[in-house]
């Protein structure tokens, strides 16, 4: 089970161990954790509410993981995304990739995050002193996704 959509927090060390403990030929493990930032363009926020599309979310995340597995020689992949109410500093998302060599682990983790940002049905609403507002999709995220759709499989990391 490589994908979870949950309200609870996650334990990064436990997730790494679960992915790596049974395989002594993993040479590289990359993790990405996304956190709620307090300062936004509209000022400091107190809470962030993450809405998602139950059913489609799991399906979209599993498809993204399958694509990563098809592109890179991965010995393990784990993807956890939280939903519900969160506060500044809280963890939102975790990606873990394990491979023999670091290039595949780094590239696959970056790919998973780029795809997840534009293809998984989550929506963020931030609330602060100035009121509540839905977060706009970043154009930079679309560009980051598009870079993986060029003919070469490992594109420039330049995004913005």
């Amino acid at each position: 089970m490589s994908v979870s959509v949950q309200t609870e927090d996650f334990d990064i060390a436990a997730e790494i161990d679960a992915l790596t403990s049974s395989d002594r030929n993993i040479g590289a493990v990359v993790t990405f954790s996304g956190l709620v930032r307090e300062m936004t363009d509209a000022g400091a926020i107190q809470t962030m509410e993450l809405e998602h599309y139950p059913g489609m979310t799991e399906r979209a995340l599993e498809e993204i993981v399958e694509q990563a597995r098809a592109r890179w020689p991965l010995q393990g992949v784990r993807l956890i995304h939280r939903y519900g109410p969160l506060a500044p500093g809280d963890r939102i998302v975790l990606v873990v990739t394990a491979s023999r060599h670091r290039e595949a682990a780094f590239d696959a983790a970056a790919f998973l995050m780029d795809y997840l940002k534009t293809k998984a049905p989550f929506w963020k609403k931030e609330s602060g002193a100035a009121g509540a507002a839905w977060v706009d999709a970043r154009e930079a995220d679309d560009r980051a996704t598009a870079r993986w759709e060029r003919p070469t499989s490992t594109p420039s990391t330049q995004q913005s």
Partner: protein, 81 residues
């Protein structure tokens, strides 16, 4: 047909979902029908460029055929991660 709304589309429509009878051939046709249901719906679908559609949980374009679809979801661009 089950219609789902997320994020600010849900807030403008005032409902997370509704069951409707429709013979709309595409999501674009369906949007035209839904806009006639009231001012909330009209406001939700005001800017068509800001709207994404999933049919039976797969992202599609606005001219995708709806034949056989059970669930159609409308939402703004995704902002997860």
């Amino acid at each position: 047909m089950q219609i789902l709304y997320f994020s600010w589309l849900r807030e403008r429509v005032g409902e997370a979902s509704e069951d409707i009878e429709t013979s709309a051939a595409t999501p674009a046709d369906l949007i035209a029908e839904l806009k006639a249901r009231g001012s909330g719906h009209a406001m939700a679908f005001e800017d068509i460029t800001a709207i994404r559609v999933a049919v039976d949980q797969q992202m599609v374009e606005l001219d995708h055929p709806l034949a056989g679809a059970r669930e159609v979801a409308f939402f703004p661009p995704m902002t997860g991660g």
